[in-house]
Symmetry: C2
Subunit: 320 residues, 2 copies
C-alpha cells in the first residue's frame, strides 16, 4: 500500500473501491502532490453529484438530521457522501471519534461514505480541502454529497461557497433566529429547517424566520421555504428532501446551477493562487524566519505595519 | 473639512481633538491612502494603550460588561476607546444603530471614545481594519482600547490576534461552555467570565470551565482565572479589572507582552502583503473580469481547480 501510485488509485476509484477513495481523500487533506494529480485525472467526471450544505448553530441537531436525510436517500436507492467539518480540539480528538460514532449508525449499509475533517488549525473556516474532497466523492460516483459543519462561525458561511443548496438548521429557542441573523445565516440559507419541532415555540420560530426572510432581498427569485422536522423520529425529513429537490430543479431550470458552480470554481482557483503566491513570497524572504527578522529589523523604528509591508515588497522586487 | 490634510489631522489628534480621531478612523476603515499615511505619522506614539479583547457567544451580555468595565476605568481617571465589531446586515443597519444606542449611555462623559465597525462583507472575521483603528486610538493617547465582538465565529478568534488580554464571556446555560470549547474559545481565553452570575447554575458553569481549563496545555505559565459577574448590576466588574491587571503584570514581567505584540505586528504585515499581492495579481489578469474569463476558458475542459490555478500562474510569469 505504501507506494501506491496515482494511476492505480484512479483505476480503483473507477472500480468503486471505497478504500481507494479514502486514500485519495487523505492525500487531498494532506496537500500531498498526489492528491492534486489525482484530482486532475478524475476531474472530467466531476459534476453529477448534488452538493448539500447543512449549517446552523451547535446543538441544533444537524448530525441527526444529516443521518435522517442519508437514510432517506439510501432508501431511494441513491448513494451519499458525508463530509462533516469539525474543529479539531486538543481536548476532544474531534474528527476521528465522530467518524467512529457515526459509522456505527450507517457503517453496515452500502452506498454511504462518511468523512470527518478538521478545520485548518482548529480555528474557524471550512477546511480548505473540503471542496476538493467533495469533488473526489463526486468523481467516485456518489449521487449526493452532504457538507455538514458543527456550526462555528466562518465555516457556516464557507459552506455556502461549496454547496449547491444551503440548508440552515435552527431550533425553537428564544433568540435562536436572531442569533442566526447576526451570524449572517439568514442571508445564505436557501432552505430553513426548524428542528426539534415537537418543542414548544416551534411555530413561533417558523413565524420569526418567515418575517425575517420577508425583509430579504429576493435576489435570484427563490423564496426559501421553512420546514419543520423532528430529526430524532424522522418526521419532516421527507419534506426536507422534497424542498432540496425543488431548489435543485429551480437552479437547473434557470441556469443558476451552472453559474453558481462556475463562481465556486473561480473562488477556489483564486484561493489556490493566493496561497501559492503567499508560499512563494515566504520562500523568497528566506522562510518564516526571514519574515520574522525583516519585521523585527524594520519594526525597531516603530514603523506602521503599512510601512513595513511596503519595505518588504520593495525588497522583493529589488532582489528579483 | 473636505480637503483636510494628513498633517492637519495628525496635529489635531495631538491636541486631543476627538473629531479628528473619528475622521482618521474613517480613512482607515475606507482604506483611504491618507489613513495609511496618518498611521505612518502617528505610529511612533503607538504602544502605551492596553488592548483588551472581549469575546463570547451572542447573548452573553458582552456589551453591558464592556460598559461596566469602561465606567470602572473612567472612575479611576483612565480614558477608554471601544471598538465594537459588528457584522453588517442589510436587515439591521447594524453598526450605526449600535453606536447611537451606546452613545446615549456614555456619550456625555469625557474620556471615552466608541466606534462600531462592520466586519468585512458582513460575513465573519474581525474587520481587517480593527488593529489599525486600535493603533490610532492608542496614538491618540487613550489608556485602554477594548475590542468587542458580537461573538460570531471567526471574529471571536481574530480578536485574540489583536488583543493583549483576551476575555471570554459565557453565561450559566446548559452546554454554553461545551459550545465555547467547540468554537475554539477555551484555547484563546486568558480570563473567563461567567456573566449573569445571579442565574441558576453559575457555580456549575465555573466548575465546567475550570475542569476544561485543567486539560489545557499550560503554554506560557498563565492559569486563566474564572470571574463571576452580573454586568447589569456591576457585580464582579472590579474583580474582572483586577484579573486584567494581573494578566498585564504577568505579561510585562516576563517579556511576553513585547513578544506578543511583535507576533501580532508580523501577522498584520503578512496580511497586508498578501492582500497587496492579490490585488496586483487581479490587476495583471485584467481585473475580476479577466480572472472570470480565464477560469471560464480553462474550465471548459473540466479541469481541476489546481490545473486552472497553475495555468493562470504560468500565464502571469510568461506575460511578465
Amino acid at each position: 500500500m505504501r507506494n501506491v501510485g496515482v494511476d492505480d488509485l484512479v483505476a480503483r476509484m473507477e472500480d468503486g473501491d471505497g478504500v481507494a477513495l479514502a486514500r485519495a481523500i487523505s492525500w487531498i487533506e494532506d496537500e500531498d502532490e498526489r492528491g492534486h494529480a489525482l484530482l486532475d485525472a478524475v476531474y472530467p467526471r466531476v459534476g453529477s453529484a448534488y452538493r448539500i450544505g447543512i449549517s446552523g448553530p451547535p446543538g441544533a441537531g444537524k448530525s441527526t438530521l444529516v443521518d435522517g436525510l442519508t437514510e432517506h436517500y439510501l432508501d431511494a436507492g441513491k448513494t451519499v457522501g458525508i463530509i462533516a467539518v469539525d474543529p479539531t480540539s486538543p481536548f476532544t480528538g474531534g474528527a476521528l471519534l465522530g467518524d467512529r460514532v457515526r459509522m456505527q449508525r450507517h457503517g453496515v449499509r452500502e452506498g454511504v461514505f462518511i468523512r470527518s475533517m478538521a478545520t485548518r488549525g482548529g480555528l474557524g473556516g471550512l477546511s480548505r480541502a473540503a471542496p476538493s474532497v467533495a469533488a473526489a466523492m463526486d468523481a467516485f460516483g456518489l449521487d449526493f454529497v452532504i457538507l455538514e459543519t458543527v456550526g462555528v462561525g466562518q465555516s457556516e458561511l464557507d459552506i455556502a461557497e461549496a454547496a449547491d443548496t444551503t440548508v440552515i438548521v435552527l431550533v425553537p429557542e428564544s433568540g435562536d433566529s436572531i442569533q442566526a441573523m447576526k451570524a449572517g445565516l439568514m442571508e445564505i440559507g436557501e432552505i430553513f429547517v426548524v428542528n426539534k419541532a415537537d418543542r414548544e415555540g416551534a411555530e413561533m420560530t417558523v413565524g420569526e424566520i418567515e418575517s425575517m426572510l420577508s425583509l430579504r432581498d429576493e435576489g435570484d427569485g427563490w423564496s426559501p421555504p421553512v420546514v419543520l422536522t423532528t430529526a430524532t423520529t424522522g418526521d419532516g425529513v421527507g419534506e426536507l428532501a422534497s424542498a432540496i429537490d425543488s431548489h435543485r430543479e429551480f437552479l437547473v431550470s434557470n441556469g443558476h446551477l451552472e453559474e453558481r458552480r462556475r463562481e465556486h470554481l473561480k473562488s477556489l482557483v483564486r484561493t489556490i493562487i493566493v496561497d501559492a503566491l503567499e508560499k512563494k513570497l515566504i520562500e523568497r524572504l528566506g522562510g518564516e524566519a526571514g519574515l520574522d527578522s525583516m519585521v523585527g529589523d524594520v519594526g525597531e523604528g516603530q514603523r506602521s505595519p503599512y510601512q513595513i509591508a511596503r519595505q518588504v515588497l520593495d525588497s522583493i522586487s529589488e532582489g528579483g
